[in-house]
């Protein structure tokens, strides 16, 4: 029975719960059993509270038995990336500097999931402050890829990805600044969605790079991703960059198909991917063509500049966003003879090497005399990427690219070479720079059995079309 429960998507789970074929408590028990088996191997979670989850489940069963209508996420076990503020769990961003810090408020997305009766099991591991592509930069633990325990799950939302991929949670929430939802989704064989910038409130997300960060779901299926997205999208008055318009309905649109939709394969991003990924991408394109989409090839050379621009803009914003971790108000405080010495000691001990590297990069890029050469130039490249996308979308409706140039790499393989690590995000970064929606969907495996993901990109606010495309790929490759 338990194994069967873990196979159900949200819709199936909902139906079974409504039909009283299963109780919410039984669902939580099934996930608990899975966690007890898998978690010691995988290490996806930083904190777990299954007792709290079970008492929420009990309460939901009582409510249901009283005839109450429950929310759309009723009974759904959720894993939250540990950079989302929660009053019920510490929120650390996988950093020593926030060890044990319990926020006095919930992130907007956390409240929205709770409003829909989602059940949070725990908080998941990440690269410290979401800076990384392998989850190796966590100050607490290394999360393993469920398909090969010697390999990374990707990052920075590697904990949420590994939790969903190993069926320890039905839904994961992650954040995506340069690919941190999509790349781990691809490396662990699940669906990862980054909405249009402003579609999901960032209130309560520990900021890495404010103009790039977006929260989104990691799920086993496109349908589940659509449902979770519908629950968390929508204007939030507490986030001034949040879009004012009504969010698109995604679930209902999935089956509308892609007949006549023009999809462009971004050849210059395909060329840099490994052969098995290229082959998988062609299979995905073929699935779209079978469903009636019109496939073409397009080269968008400007996208290659995105990586360099990103590694100026993101560290610049991060250097400012992370200034507040100074030991004065919360988190770690190291002793020092003066306030200044205390701050230096705290930050020296509290931040890991990658975070320090980016703070220094960003501080340098914003410094007097370097600002124009780095920050201003990077912003210009950003506009270039935006206009390159705009031009592309004059001739196609969606773009198809690999999500990552490679499948999951070995733990430690890229740790010594940060630039090689940064290149992991070359296909995902352009959508963060442009603020456009993007989605990674599973497309088979390489000869070693490691999952491959392909990425669909769309113009701003084109989530509906994006999900129709993703659903067609998923169906076609099934």
């Amino acid at each position: 029975m338990n194994d069967e429960i873990l196979d159900w998507g949200i819709a199936e789970l909902h139906r079974r719960l409504e039909a009283r074929e299963v109780s919410t408590v039984e669902v939580i028990d099934a996930y608990q059993e899975q966690i007890e088996i898998q978690e010691p191997e995988i290490g996806a979670f930083l904190t777990l509270d299954l007792d709290a989850a079970r008492s929420t489940a009990t309460a939901q069963d009582t409510r249901r038995s009283r005839g109450e209508t429950l929310g759309r996420m009723a009974g759904v076990p959720v894993a939250l990336k540990d950079n989302l503020c929660t009053t019920a769990f510490p929120t650390t961003a996988a950093s020593r500097i926030l060890e044990g810090w319990i926020p006095p408020y919930n992130a907007t997305v956390v409240d929205r999931l709770a409003d829909q009766d989602g059940i949070v099991l725990g908080k998941t591991n990440l690269d410290e402050f979401a800076m990384g592509s392998s989850t190796e930069n966590s100050a607490y633990k290394i999360t393993k890829n469920p398909y090969d325990l010697e390999r990374v799950p990707g990052g920075s939302s590697g904990g949420s990805a590994a939790a969903v991929a190993s069926r320890m949670a039905l839904v994961g929430l992650g954040s995506d600044t340069g690919g941190s939802i999509r790349q781990p989704a691809a490396l662990t064989g699940i669906v990862g969605f980054k909405p249009t910038y402003g579609r999901v409130s960032r209130y309560g997300l520990l900021a890495f790079a404010s103009s790039l960060d977006q929260i989104g779901p990691l799920t086993a299926s496109v349908e589940d991703a659509a449902l979770v997205a519908e629950c968390i999208m929508g204007h939030d008055p507490r986030d001034a960059t949040s879009l004012q318009e009504a969010s698109p309905l995604l679930l209902g649109a999935l089956t509308e198909g892609v007949r006549g939709i023009r999809v462009g394969i971004v050849t210059n991003l395909v060329e840099i991917a490994s052969p098995s990924i290229q082959a998988a991408l062609l299979r995905a394109a073929d699935a779209l063509a079978q469903a009636g989409a019109l496939i073409s090839e397009i080269s968008i050379d400007e996208l290659a500049f995105g990586l360099a621009a990103y590694y100026v803009v993101a560290p610049a914003e991060a250097s400012s966003n992370l200034a507040r971790y100074d030991g004065v108000r919360y988190g770690l405080r190291e002793p020092g003879a003066t306030v200044e010495e205390m701050m230096i000691a705290t930050r020296t001990k509290g931040f890991g090497p990658e975070v320090k590297r980016r703070i220094m990069l960003g501080t340098y890029a914003l410094s007097a005399g370097y600002y124009d050469a780095f920050y201003v130039t990077a912003q210009r490249v950003r506009s270039l990427v935006r206009s390159a996308f705009d031009r592309a979308y004059e001739s196609v409706d969606l773009l198809l690219t690999p999500t990552s140039p490679t499948t999951a790499f070995r733990i430690g393989e890229r740790s010594a070479d940060p630039v090689e690590m940064y290149r992991s995000d070359i296909c995902t970064i352009p959508s963060n720079l442009s603020g456009d929606p993007a989605l990674s969907v599973p497309a088979g495996a390489d000869p070693d059995g490691l999952p491959i993901g392909v990425q669909l990109l769309g113009p701003p606010r084109s989530e509906q079309l994006l999900f129709r495309g993703a659903y067609a790929v998923e169906e076609g490759l099934r």
Partner: protein, 487 residues
């Protein structure tokens, strides 16, 4: 531009002064969150995740603060424009995010000016919005952070909206600096943007000052003096600094650009540690806030709603009472006083009388004005204008009208002032005339000087209860009767 006799720091030298005035805007809530913008609360009670800069919190713009900024901009004849927020990055424990959200190269207000009572025009480079920091209290040592045993932080002030108004280096002496701050304060209060209370820190001044030989066209190295929190400190600090700089030049010593503080007790400026000014603020556009773009309609609406500003009030006075002294004029155009004067003049009260009563009795009453609204004030002055009551009675009546809500007419009766009619007044004068027949004879014979004596007797007899003007009327009437009876 009107010339002005300036007092230089030394013979042959002049000051070059530019002021940065920070004013707290009296919005209901803080600049980026819903916490009340209150003064004097218990420490750390008016705070939330946003103004504490907790991880994950985000700023949201307060529309009322933008509105106030626009009003001030318009009152300072500035261009109100689409503006961008920037982050000013530096580490300090009173600043919860370790950056301040401020405006940098595109402030909401730019290129204005302010006309001083002297007629001199001071350029306003910009007036921009920013958030205030928390408040540090250093315990032990000399009250400065480096010597303190420990420091306490109150974040109630963190996120309170500030408008920083930066003048051009157009100010030429410390007294003019004082005049500028006084005038600016009056404008801020008049448009309702600030309560202008310097002692509560809702108006704080930083001064940039240099000196140069009169006639020299370029500016010399300037010094910034931080946190001048009273007009007295401002004048004294600038004077001290001017003298210090001249002395340095005359001794052939080097002037270095630096930030100094004013030590009120020791009456001197001292240098801040070099470290604190070696900051590179690494400004960059605040990604959490979209640009603030006030629409043209709102700006025009606010323009038409601007109250009469001090310079316009001065203009009105120059028309109505051209002879009025500058001191009296400044007293009358003060925000608290002006509505009374305006109402009185609009109601047809003799302007000179309105001015005198405003400048003297009203100003004395203002700290505890009670129920004396402008309409009530005008009612009292109208009685005086008609000659129904004398000046000394009106002064008493004004005082009573402030503390006693009885309608003015009844109040007059209650005080026993004019319940007397003309006949009663005549009877009182007659009593005196009978007692002083010689003087009465001289008066009838045309000796006007005796009138004063006779009226004085009446007043002595009946005191302040009667109106001097009324008594004079009665005396004239009696004289007429006597003369016509004699014919």
């Amino acid at each position: 531009m009107t010339q002005r006799a300036t007092a230089g720091p030394a013979k042959g030298w002049e000051y070059v002064i530019g002021l940065e005035v920070h004013t707290e805007l009296k919005t209901r809530s803080k600049l980026f969150c819903g916490c009340p913008n209150a003064f004097g609360e218990e420490p750390n009670t008016s705070i939330c995740p946003v103004c504490l800069g907790l991880p994950g919190s985000l700023p949201v713009m307060n529309a009322q603060a933008v509105d106030f900024a626009i009003r001030v901009g318009l009152a300072l004849n500035a261009t109100v424009q689409r503006s961008q927020f920037h982050r000013k990055n530096y580490f300090y424990p009173d600043m919860p995010k370790d950056y301040q959200i401020s405006q940098y190269d595109v402030p909401i207000n730019a290129n204005g000016y302010l006309e001083l009572p002297s007629g001199r025009v001071i350029g306003i480079e910009r007036a921009h919005l920013e958030e205030d920091t928390g408040k540090l209290v250093h315990r032990g040592g000399h009250g400065r952070i480096e010597s303190a045993a420990y420091s306490l932080i109150d974040y109630n002030r963190s996120g309170v909206p500030l408008l920083e108004i930066v003048s051009a280096p157009d100010i030429r002496d410390p007294e003019e600096a004082k005049e500028y701050v006084t005038e600016l304060r009056a404008i801020l209060v008049a448009v309702g943007a600030s309560d202008g209370r310097m002692e509560e820190g809702s108006l704080r001044v930083d001064a940039n000052v240099s000196v140069r030989p009169i006639g020299e066209a370029t500016f010399r190295t300037r010094v910034e003096i931080k946190n001048l929190n009273s007009l007295r400190s401002l004048v004294r600090a600038l004077t001290f600094e001017g003298h210090r700089q001249v002395q340095l030049y005359e001794n052939g010593e080097a002037m270095i650009q630096q930030t100094r503080f004013w030590d009120e007790e020791r009456s001197l400026t001292g240098a801040l540690r070099l470290k604190e000014e070696a900051n590179d603020y690494r400004y960059f556009p605040e990604p959490d806030l979209p640009p603030v773009a006030p629409d043209v309609e709102l700006i025009e609406e606010r323009r038409t709603e601007l109250p009469e500003l001090p310079s316009a009030r001065r203009g009105s006075i120059a028309m109505i009472l051209p002879e009025l002294s500058a001191d009296l004029r400044e007293t009358i155009i003060a925000d608290a006083c002006w509505p009374y004067f305006r109402s009185a003049v609009d109601a047809g009260i003799t302007p000179a009388r309105a001015a005198a009563r405003c400048a003297n009795e009203l100003t004395a009453l203002l700290p505890d004005i009670g129920v004396l609204a402008p309409e009530r004030f005008v009612e009292v002055l109208a009685i005086e204008d008609r000659g129904d009551l004398g000046a000394s009675q009106v002064k008493i009546l004004l005082r009573e009208a402030a503390s006693d809500p009885t309608p003015v007419k009844e109040l007059v009766t209650k005080l026993g002032f004019t319940a007397r009619d003309e006949d009663a007044m005549k009877a009182m004068v007659e009593e005196v005339v009978i007692r002083f027949p010689d003087e009465w004879g001289r008066y009838l014979g045309g000796d006007e000087k005796v009138a004063g004596f006779l009226l004085g007797q009446v007043m002595r007899q009946h005191g302040r209860q009667i109106s001097g003007a009324g008594a004079r009327q009665a005396l004239l009437a009696l004289a007429d009767e006597a003369r016509s009876g004699a014919e």
